[in-house]
C-alpha cells in the first residue's frame, strides 16, 4: 500500500499554490457571501475541527502516532480560553458564577494567571504543547507506540474528563464553562463579531495548514516519515526518533489547543462532553474519512463529516452515529486512504490512460518478479 510521504510532492508546486489560493478565496469570499449568519457560525465550528484534523494528520498520517486523546489538548486550549473569558465576565476580584454556586468564594490559585490575556492567550497553545511534550518524551523514549500509544492517550482523555467532572467547584463540572456573552469586549451574539471570528478561524486554519505543509516539505518532514516507516532504522542513521516524534505530537497538540480556544467564543461552551473518549475518537474519524495520506484529506474530512453530522442528525437523531460508524468501517476496509486517497487513485488512473511514462503497478510487479530470487 502506498503510504503518504515526502516523495509525494513531485508534482508542479504551482498546482498546490493555485489550489490553495482558490480554496482560500472560497473560504474568505464565497462562504461569507452565501451563508446565512447561522450557517457561517456553524461553518466556523467546522473550521475549528479542521484545525484539529490538520494536527492529527501531521501526527498520525505523516508520523504514524495515532492519538485517541486529542480531545484533551482541545480541552486544555478551550478551558484556558474559557477561564480567561469567565474571569473577564465576572469582573476584577470576583469569581465566576459557577464557583459561587459551588461555594467557592476565593479565586483558586490555578485560575489566577488566567486573569491576564498575556498569560491566557499564549497558554491556549503552550499548555497543550507542554503536556504533549512531557507525555511524548516519557512514552516515546520507552518505545511505546502503535496500539499501546493509542490506548494510553485514550486513558488520558478518560482521566481528564473524570478530573473535570470531579472538580466541579473549579472547572464547572459536567456543565463545563458556559454562558459566554462577550469576548475581548465584543458581543458574541452580534453577527458582525461572529463574522470576524469566522475570518480569524479561517485564517488560523490556513496558517496551520501551511505550517504543516512547510514542515512536511522540509528535512524534518522526511525524517518524520522515515520514523513512521522504520523507527529503529532512523536510530541507525544517528537520529533520536523520540525527539522527532515529540515535536510532531506537540505541534499537533498545539493545533488542537488553538482550535479549542477558537471554539469557545464561536460555540459559547467548553465542557467534558466535547473532549472525552468519544469526541476524541470522532476527531480521528474525521481524518480517517478525509484521508490521512495528505494534509488536505483531514480538512476535507472535518468539513464533510461535520456538515453531514449537522444535516443528518437533525433529520435522523439516532441514525447519525450508526452511519458514522458504518462510514468508518467502509473507509478502513475499502478505501484506507480516505476521500483524498480516492482523488489520488483517480489521478493515477488518468495518468495511465494518458500513457504517462510512470510504470504501472503491473509493470512494476513484473520488474520485481524478474529481479528477486524466490525465497
Amino acid at each position: 500500500m502506498k503510504m503518504p510521504g515526502a516523495s509525494g510532492g513531485a508534482r508542479n508546486p504551482w498546482y498546490g499554490r493555485i489550489g490553495f489560493a482558490l480554496v482560500a478565496l472560497g473560504f474568505l469570499v464565497l462562504a461569507p457571501a452565501t451563508l446565512s449568519d447561522f450557517g457561517l457560525n456553524l461553518f466556523t465550528k467546522y473550521l475549528c475541527y479542521a484545525i484539529i484534523a490538520v494536527g492529527i494528520g501531521l501526527a498520525w498520517g505523516q508520523g504514524g502516532m495515532l492519538s485517541l486523546g486529542q480531545g484533551v489538548f482541545f480541552g486544555l486550549g478551550g478551558y484556558a480560553m474559557g477561564m480567561y473569558l469567565k474571569l473577564q465576565a465576572a469582573g476584577p476580584g470576583k469569581v465566576p458564577d459557577f464557583m459561587s454556586w459551588s461555594g467557592v468564594e476565593k479565586l483558586p490559585l490555578l485560575w489566577k494567571p488566567f486573569q491576564y490575556a498575556w498569560i491566557a492567550l499564549p497558554a491556549v497553545v503552550v499548555v497543550p504543547m507542554a503536556v504533549a511534550a512531557g507525555l511524548g518524551a516519557m512514552v516515546f523514549r520507552r518505545r511505546v507506540r502503535g496500539a499501546y500509544f493509542a490506548i494510553l492517550t485514550q486513558a488520558l482523555a478518560a482521566a481528564f474528563v473524570i478530573l473535570l467532572i470531579g472538580e466541579q467547584g473549579y472547572t464547572g463540572g459536567t456543565n463545563g464553562l458556559t454562558n459566554f456573552s462577550q469576548a475581548f469586549g465584543l458581543d458574541l451574539a452580534d453577527p458582525t463579531n461572529q463574522r470576524m471570528f469566522y475570518f480569524i478561524t479561517a485564517g488560523v486554519l490556513g496558517a496551520m495548514f501551511l505550517l504543516a505543509r512547510q514542515l512536511m516539505a522540509s528535512r524534518y518532514g522526511r525524517l518524520l516519515v522515515a520514523v513512521r516507516d522504520g523507527e529503529e532504522r532512523v536510530r541507525f542513521l544517528g537520529y533520536n526518533p523520540t525527539v522527532i516524534k515529540v515535536i510532531a505530537f506537540s505541534i499537533s497538540a498545539g493545533m488542537a489547543g488553538l482550535a479549542g480556544a477558537l471554539f469557545v467564543p464561536v460555540v459559547g461552551i467548553i465542557s467534558p462532553a466535547l473532549l472525552g473518549i468519544v469526541p476524541s475518537i470522532e476527531m480521528v474519524i474525521l481524518v480517517a474519512l478525509g484521508g490521512r495520506s495528505s494534509l488536505v484529506g483531514p480538512v476535507i474530512g472535518a468539513l464533510a463529516v461535520n456538515y453531514a453530522k449537522t444535516s443528518l442528525s437533525n433529520r435522523f437523531p439516532s441514525g447519525w452515529l450508526y452511519l458514522e460508524g458504518l462510514l468508518f468501517v467502509v473507509v478502513i476496509g475499502f478505501a484506507p486512504m480516505g476521500l483524498a486517497g480516492l482523488v489520488g487513485y483517480g489521478r493515477s488512473a488518468l495518468d495511465r490512460l494518458r500513457g504517462s511514462p510512470g510504470a504501472s503497478p503491473a509493470d512494476e510487479a513484473k520488474r520485481l518478479e524478474d529481479e528477486v530470487v524466490p525465497a
Binding site: A6, E232, L368
Partner: protein, 234 residues
C-alpha cells in the same frame, strides 16, 4: 578499532551471548559465522546498542561505547545495515539518502560527497533516485540500505547477512562494493554471513560462534580447517 570484551546480552531474561570477546582491527573485514540461532545477529545488535550488554565492555578506538544509545554510536562512527534490507518505503530513493545528508554531523557538503561516492559504488541506484523505495527489488533495496549507511561516513560498518534472498548477479555487485570499501577506502567491516564462499572471498579474519560463545577465530585461511567447518555445518 572495535573491541568486545566479555560481553553478555540477550532478550529479557534469556541470555544469548555468554562472555563474548572479539576484536576488529583497523581496516579489517571480520566475518562472524555460525549456525542459525547461535547469536550472530544478537552480537551485532549488541555492538550497535540495539540490545544492551548486561556484562562486559565495548570500545571503539579506546572509547567506551557500552552505555551509548544506537544513534550516539552512529555519531561515534558505527553504521549498521540490519537483516532484511530495510529502507523507508514511503520515501523515494533520493529522500532515503537525503534524510542522512541533511543533518549529517560532518556537514552537508561532506554528506553530499559521501552520497556521491555511495552512488558511484552502486550506479544502479542513480537511475532509481525518483522511485519510491517500497517498490525496489530485494537487491536494489539492499544496495540502498548499504549506500544509506555509508552516507553517515562510518569508520566501522556492521552488515547483517547482506546476501540473504538476493539473486547471484546482485550478490556479485554487493561483494565488489564491500571489497572496494574495505580494500580501497580502508573501511573496517563486520560481516555476519552464512554464505561461506562469499565470506571467504572478502574477509581477512573470522569469528565462529556456537551457543553464544566464541568457539573459533583466526585468519580466514583457517576456515579450510575441517574442525572449523564442522562448526558451520547445518
Amino acid at each position: 578499532m572495535l573491541r568486545v570484551e566479555g560481553v553478555e546480552s540477550g532478550y529479557g531474561r534469556t541470555t544469548v551471548l555468554f562472555g563474548v570477546s572479539m576484536e576488529v582491527p583497523d581496516d579489517a573485514l571480520v566475518c562472524v559465522m555460525g549456525r542459525n540461532g547461535v547469536g550472530k545477529t544478537t552480537l551485532i545488535k549488541t555492538m550497535m546498542g540495539v540490545i544492551k550488554a548486561s556484562r562486559g565492555r565495548i570500545t571503539l578506538d579506546g572509547r567506551d561505547i557500552t552505555d551509548m544509545r544506537s544513534y550516539q554510536r552512529v555519531r561515534a562512527g558505527l553504521a549498521y545495515v540490519p537483516q532484511g534490507r530495510a529502507s523507508f518505503p514511503s520515501l523515494s530513493v533520493r529522500e532515503n539518502l537525503q534524510v542522512v545528508i541533511e543533518t549529517s554531523p560532518h556537514g552537508v557538503a561532506a554528506g553530499q560527497a559521501a552520497l556521491d561516492e555511495a552512488l558511484d559504488l552502486f550506479p544502479k541506484l542513480r537511475k532509481l533516485l525518483g522511485r519510491q523505495a517500497g517498490f525496489l527489488s530485494g537487491g536494489e533495496a539492499q544496495q540502498l540500505a548499504i549506500a544509506r549507511a555509508l552516507v553517515t561516513r562510518p569508520r566501522l560498518l556492521l552488515l547483517d547477512e547482506p546476501t540473504e534472498g538476493i539473486q547471484p548477479s546482485v550478490i556479485i555487485e554487493i561483494e565488489n562494493a564491500i571489497a572496494h570499501l574495505n580494500a580501497t577506502n580502508g573501511l573496517a567491516i563486520v560481516l555476519v554471513e552464512q554464505y561461506m564462499e562469499f565470506a571467504l572471498r572478502l574477509a581477512q579474519r573470522y569469528v565462529v560462534l556456537d551457543a553464544g560463545r566464541v568457539v573459533a577465530e583466526g585468519a580466514t585461511e583457517g576456515l579450510a580447517n575441517e574442525s572449523v567447518r564442522k562448526l558451520l555445518a547445518v
